[in-house]
């Protein structure tokens, strides 16, 4: 699951499709634009 901490809440996603063609998914677990793959929901202090 991709997570992003924004406005004091965790946002979650299975896929994120970007205008540049990048698609974050379970088969492409790269970080982008604050989104990062975690196997379990991270704590706030884990945010890089």
């Amino acid at each position: 699951m991709f997570y992003k901490f924004e406005n004091n809440e965790w946002l979650t996603a299975l896929e994120i499709h970007f205008p540049d063609g990048t698609i974050l998914s379970s088969s492409n677990r790269i970080g982008k634009d604050g989104w990062k793959w975690y196997d379990e929901q991270p704590y706030e202090d884990e945010i890089i």
Binding site: T12, A13, E15, I16, H17
Partner: protein, 503 residues
């Protein structure tokens, strides 16, 4: 059979027997016989013409299938069905399955006779109520039925601004000549009222008076003012049951703004002056069933009918159409917290805000089209109208900047179409909680929006993406937990510069 032959000059006749004729059968059915050594031509036709071919062990005939059958209802083609299949036509109305009165077949036509629809049952004026005076366009008068209770303080107040000569007939045998802008108070004595005694829904006895006023040159009429007269105390008017008024000069009329006419069941306003203001003059009309109102002359409309407006319809028992053509002074909460179940079209092309217009109308099921072409704000316009269904169709312009919470909490709404969102900057919670939402068209939207947990299939999401404008800056669409989230065509949105988040 015999044959004459010559054997060494001796003529002899020889008799012999030939083979028997052969019986010919087709599919075990005898069709004739052929002489030994002879033949029998059996003609095989399909629909009168020779047909088929020998496939080595049988004569094979293959026919073309009958074409599909076209189904029409009252002459309009509704579709086709495969030849030979069964057609099942379901008859229903909003109440469920309808059993036809009769079905008659004549050739290919089926006459299906449905039961007559029940006539709508509109409000019926209680038979025991006293009749009002005649009021209509041009009569320039007021006539109102007022309840006088056996066990309550029965106070009526009337204040008129006028340049004419006017008289209040209080309905108990007394009258009052009017001085402009003076608040007159009437305390009724139940014992002296001569009308029949009726019993209200709470089981309380009441009598009635009919109050009449000639409305010549009246510009302001208050029939809801509190009185603080020492002998009476701070008392609110509560007794109006039925009101009809016609006055071509009036611009302010307040039957329920300070005191609340919570018993009023019918309000008929035939004519007013060039405009009328409603800030707030018609609130808490919880019992109202019939409303005739010159919406086209409603100028200021802040909280006009807010707080518990009854489930009223027009005098023809049709949903109210709000034709607010001159309503430029906006204000909020025009119909918020109403008990309306159905509303017609809302046409307010000059109104600049629809903020909380129908907010929390928890019984509202249907609303017509909305012309909000001058509106900048649709914030919470329908929010929390939890029974609202159908597709909400709003005509807007580039003036619109906020759709914040526009249908938030409208759990049953099927769709939202806003014709121009090009300059919308606030979409917070626009469709939050709309778990039945299937259609969403926000034409020209360039900003972030969250469309999570709705009921949109991929084709409907694609149509939503198609309606979007070009993203302004880095913009994100959250389209999580919809049936079509995983299969929609995200390139429609990413191609316009949006990031699409799916779950």
């Amino acid at each position: 059979m015999s044959k004459v032959i010559d054997i060494n000059g001796s003529i002899r006749t020889v008799t012999y027997t030939t083979g028997s004729p052969a019986d010919i059968t087709v599919n075990s059915v005898s069709v004739g016989s052929a002489p030994s050594g002879g033949s029998l031509d059996i003609v095989v036709n399909l629909d009168g013409s020779p047909s088929g071919s020998w496939d080595g062990d049988s004569w094979e005939i293959t026919s073309d299938p009958f074409p599909d059958t076209t189904l029409q209802v009252n002459g309009t083609t509704e579709g086709t069905v495969a030849s030979g299949s069964t057609v099942d036509i379901q008859l229903s109305d909003s109440g469920g399955v309808v059993t036809p009165t009769s079905v008659t077949q004549v050739g290919n036509d089926f006459q299906v006779v449905l039961p007559d629809a029940a006539a709508p049952t509109g409000w019926v004026r209680p038979s025991g109520w006293l009749a009002l005076d005649t009021v209509g366009v041009g009569t320039e008068n007021f006539s109102g039925l007022f309840a006088v209770y056996e066990t309550q303080k029965n106070v009526n107040t009337i204040q008129i601004t006028t340049s004419g000569v006017n008289t209040i007939n209080w309905g108990d045998g007394t009258t009052q000549a009017v001085t402009s802008s003076v608040l007159y108070t009437k305390v009724y004595d139940y014992a002296t009222i001569t009308s029949p005694v009726l019993v209200d829904e709470a089981g309380l006895n009441y009598k009635m008076v009919v109050v009449n006023i000639n409305m010549d040159n009246v510009t302001v009429l208050y029939i809801d003012r509190n009185t603080t007269a020492t002998v009476i105390g701070n008392t609110r008017n509560l007794g109006w049951l039925d009101i009809a008024v016609d006055c071509s000069t009036i611009t302010t009329f307040s039957p329920s703004g300070q005191g609340f006419s919570v018993l009023l069941q019918r309000l008929l306003i035939y004519n007013v002056g060039a405009f009328i203001n409603g800030i707030p003059a018609f609130i808490q009309l919880a019992a109202l069933k019939v409303l005739k109102f010159p919406f086209e002359k409603l100028q200021s409309a802040s909280q006009t009918f807010t707080n518990n407006l009854g489930d009223c319809r027009d005098e023809n028992n049709l949903p109210l159409n709000l034709n607010l053509t001159i309503n430029t002074v906006s204000g909020a909460n025009v119909l918020s917290n109403s008990h309306l179940t159905e509303l017609g079209n809302i046409t307010a092309p000059l109104r600049n805000s629809f903020q909380t217009f129908l907010f929390n109308s928890i019984l509202l099921k249907k609303v017509g089209n909305i012309d909000a072409s001058a509106a900048s704000n649709l914030a919470s316009t329908f929010s929390q109208s939890v029974k609202l269904t159908g597709i909400i169709n709003v005509t807007t312009s580039a003036t619109l900047t906020s759709i914040n919470n526009v249908i938030g909490g409208c759990f049953l709404v099927d769709g939202l179409i806003i014709s121009d969102c090009t300059n919308v900057t606030n979409t917070t919670n626009a469709v939050n909680g709309c778990k039945n939402l299937k259609t969403l068209i926000l034409t020209g939207l360039t900003r972030d929006i969250t469309v999570d947990d709705c009921l949109m299939e991929a084709t409907e999401i694609n149509a939503f993406f198609t309606s979007l404008g070009i993203a302004v800056g880095n913009r994100t669409i959250f389209i999580r937990r919809n049936p079509g989230s995983a299969t929609c065509d995200t390139t429609i949105a990413t191609g316009k510069g949006f990031t699409v988040v799916i779950l």
